[in-house]
């Protein structure tokens, strides 16, 4: 670990305790949504579109309804019409099609039956008459002159335009004078890059159980990144008031952004309402791949100019991102993620497109990996042309506090330089490149976000504590909440039980996304603990019969200071809670906030690869990642985030891709042919945690989940270039694609 400045000494923060939910997860007891079973529960299945784009002429459910075991069938007609200007419109239509199916796999109807086999058979028996419409399957088709509309309800975002369009968003970012910048540049590199959709690849398919009672209220158990969002979105799609729905978070088997949107819950509720029984609805793996949101495809043309002494002066280009079948702002985010180097002159056009592939969804540092592929490849080429060390070139141009991001906003306190220095002094960087291998280097950036969180901390009678939040734990956040509470209260981390509560038992909390849980929810926990400490000081004052300003909180106990200190031993939390009844009742505190000041995180990755020049196969020999965590609350899970992000990025770089046939059907909708990295594909992933504390968080947390996926694509592309002399500009860098480039050499 690299400490970059003196920081407080913590007793709990920065340690590696066993996570509180760990035992259930190693013994098979942890309950994910698909593991839940209710009395009288039905199973459900969805009928999906076999066409990429078609008008629904009619749906005949009579045959399905007559089949054995069938208790309810729903179609789009069972859901309220939603105005296209409504924020929930696109997600509502994505949950179940209305007039048109917008991609192959789009849900059209759903069936609940006594058994899953019955439900599936009946779902297959729903008769849908389609009138096929022209399907748009790529960015190029979407932007072609005279292209048919992929989705008649899309409007170009944030422009006020009212006409339907295949342009989801159009944005522009500028500073300085790009023409003059290139005119003065000594070196200019320019390339076009393409990427294809990739999936988050969580191992748990989406699942939920819904139980709608006769009182018109529904309980939902769901695996999601945000159960409050499940509640509000489900209510909006059903046209219900929020208080009719209670959502209990089940354990979540991976999300990575893919479980920030909903697909099943409104359907399950409506089926349960119609059948009068609980309904379990779970996707198959094929459904997950065909019908949930991948990361956008992209096409990026970029040009970078530099001076002979290594100043990156000018960047210009156009970035297209496909949003799949609905509008979105992925292109704007992609352009904004160009934020690592000073570039006095910059001009970026960001254009989002709409097509007839599944509606794209967030995926870990959304839109940034595609942009980093382009920027970091070209920066590597400039280093190569100038004969400069790639880290030195980046150090020369790296942003520091106050430097502008692509959108102009100045960076807050950041640790990019420190991250670069950390990897420069790593053992890996200072070891020779293995014989026959190539070494690649690249960096990544992600903003991180704050948003709304709530936490309640209850002290129990015996001095133990319960920390209740509304942030689903997708990667160890319960442990980080407990660690921060332990540090605040001075209470052993295992005397604290962290709970993720349902929507009726804790205050509103936004989705666990954007690396915000430990940052924002953590702040709410800290604030609640601090309020509790004030209360405990008051109770201690009552017990000792002193004025509260004579009580200090030191080392997990109320210490009486000043003249009254003599003979008054400190009161521990257990001492105080034992007398809570006599001093005013239970000790509890709640804090809610809308967090500002999320701290951006930078990462730098280094890889040694070998390329089989006769087959195009890339083997990663060694991989190292350095990343600024701000402060690592639970370093083992920070490392885990860095390693997991790296592995996902490696998969994206090398072999993952959606393959559509000419009609828009996904041909590889299985884990056999959607090739995520398996254990034998990867080396150990060495981690260097850099800690440049975020001044906007009480413990300096930045959030570490997102950034790790940004550098791997260019890191491997640069390593392949070093090994073979071939610059890869199209993903995936799979054996056939690499061999093709080598053959062209």
């Amino acid at each position: 670990m690299t400490d970059t400045e003196a920081r407080p000494t913590y007793k709990y923060v920065g340690t590696r305790p066993i996570r509180h939910d760990g035992l259930d997860k190693v013994t098979g007891k942890a309950r994910f949504a698909a593991d839940l079973n209710m009395t009288g529960q039905l199973r459900a299945a969805i009928t999906r579109s076999p066409h990429a784009h078609a008008r629904i002429v009619s749906i005949d459910t009579s045959a399905a309804e007559a089949m054995p075991g069938v208790k309810a069938v729903v179609t789009g007609a069972d859901f309220p019409e939603i105005d296209i200007a409504d924020a929930i419109h696109d997600e509502a239509v994505n949950n179940i099609a209305r007039d048109e199916v917008l991609y192959n796999g789009h849900a059209v109807a759903a069936v609940a039956a006594t058994t899953l086999a019955q439900a599936r058979a009946a779902a297959a028996a729903v008769k849908v008459e389609y009138e096929e419409l022209p399907a748009i399957l790529s960015i190029d088709e979407a932007i072609a002159d005279g292209a048919p509309l992929a989705n008649p309800t899309t409007r170009t975002l944030f422009t006020g335009d009212t006409e339907p369009s295949n342009f989801a968003s159009i944005g522009q970012f500028e500073r300085g004078d790009v023409e003059a910048g290139f005119a003065a540049a000594d070196v200019i590199v320019e390339r076009e890059f393409t990427t294809v959709p990739v999936h988050q690849g969580y191992i748990e398919p989406h699942a939920c159980v819904a139980d709608c009672g006769q009182d018109g209220k529904a309980s939902i158990w769901a695996s999601s990144q945000g159960h409050f969002a499940v509640r509000s979105k489900t209510a909006a799609i059903l046209g219900w008031s929020t208080d009719r729905i209670k959502v209990t978070p089940a354990e979540i088997g991976g999300g990575f952004g893919g479980k920030t949107t909903i697909y099943l819950e409104p359907i399950a509720v409506r089926l349960s309402q119609k059948a009068g029984r609980p309904v379990k609805l779970a996707m198959t793996r094929e459904e997950v791949l065909r019908a949930t949101g991948p990361a956008p495809a992209s096409k990026i043309s970029l040009k970078i100019g530099a001076t002979n002494d290594g100043e990156l002066t000018t960047l210009a280009g156009t970035m297209y991102y496909s949003n799949g079948s609905t509008k979105g702002f992925s292109a704007l985010t992609g352009a904004m993620s160009v934020a690592s180097y000073k570039f006095p002159n910059l001009e970026l056009h960001a254009i989002g497109t709409v097509d007839n592939t599944p509606k794209s969804a967030a995926y870990r540092a959304p839109s940034a990996p595609q942009a980093a592929f382009a920027v970091e490849t070209l920066v590597d080429e400039i280093a190569q042309q100038l004969g400069m060390d790639p880290i030195e070139l980046r150090l020369r141009n790296a942003v520091v506090e106050g430097d502008p991001t692509a959108m102009g906003m100045p960076h807050p306190k950041i640790g990019f330089i420190e991250t670069l220095e950390a990897i420069k002094s790593s053992d890996h960087y200072n070891s020779p490149v293995p014989e026959g291998a190539g070494r690649g280097f690249a960096t990544g950036f992600w903003f991180n976000i704050g948003e709304q969180s709530s936490a309640t901390v209850n002290l129990n009678e015996d001095g133990t504590a319960t920390v209740i939040t509304g942030s689903p734990d997708i990667g160890g956040s319960r442990a980080s909440m407990a660690l921060m509470a332990a540090e605040e209260l001075g209470l052993d981390v295992h005397r604290i039980t962290p709970i993720v509560a349902d929507t009726e038992s804790v205050g509103f909390t936004d989705i666990t996304e954007g690396s915000r849980a430990t940052f924002a929810t953590g702040m709410a926990v800290v604030n609640a603990c601090r309020e509790l400490i004030e209360k405990m000081k008051e109770r201690a004052a009552v017990i000792r019969g002193v004025d509260v300003d004579q009580v200090a909180w030191i080392g997990g106990a109320a210490v009486i200071e000043g003249p009254a200190s003599e003979g008054n031993e400190p009161l521990t939390i257990a001492d105080i809670t034992a007398q809570a009844k006599m001093t005013g009742g239970p000790l509890t505190a709640t804090a809610s906030l809308n967090a500002a000041g999320a701290g951006p995180s930078f990462a730098a990755h280094l890889a040694d690869v070998k390329v089989d020049e006769e087959t195009g196969q890339v083997t990663i020999l060694r991989y190292t990642t350095a990343q600024d965590a701000g402060t690592a609350i639970h370093p083992a899970y920070v490392e885990g985030q860095m390693q997991g992000g790296s592995a996902q990025g490696i998969g994206w770089a090398l072999n993952e891709e959606y393959i559509f046939d000419a009609s828009g059907e996904m041909e590889n909708a299985s884990f056999l042919d959607y090739r995520m990295p398996v254990a034998s594909d990867l080396p150990m992933i060495e981690t260097i945690i850099v800690e440049v504390p975020n001044p906007s968080h009480p413990y300096g947390v930045r959030g570490v989940g997102e950034t790790g996926i940004v550098p791997p694509i260019p890191t491997l592309a640069n390593a392949i270039a070093a090994a073979t002399g071939v610059r890869m500009t199209d993903l995936p860098m799979s054996p056939p694609n690499v061999l093709k480039k080598i053959n062209e050499k």
Binding site: Q200, E401, G408, F447, A595, A596
Partner: protein
């Protein structure tokens, strides 16, 4: 007077002006003043932008955030997470 920095997208409403001095005690008031001076800009800044003041990214919808006389305000494209 807050100092507002506009992205290229938003500059079409201001005749290309990038940095503006704008009256207003809160972010919401600044947006209202910008709408008054440049009709059509206001909605672009409320629905389609995140706000940073003095380099700190604010949560979405922070229209009541106080603005000081030398506050630097950046309206940027929305950010979501994964």
């Amino acid at each position: 007077m807050a100092i507002v920095h506009l992205q290229a997208d938003h500059r079409r409403f201001t005749g290309g002006e990038e940095v503006l001095e704008v009256d207003g005690a809160t972010i919401g008031a600044v947006i209202a003043e910008l709408e008054r001076r440049f009709p059509g800009l206001g909605p672009r800044l409320t629905e389609g932008a995140s706000v940073a003041i003095d380099g700190e990214l604010l949560p979405r919808g922070s229209i009541y955030e106080k603005v000081g006389p030398t506050t630097d305000i950046h309206f940027i494209a929305p950010i979501t997470g994964g």
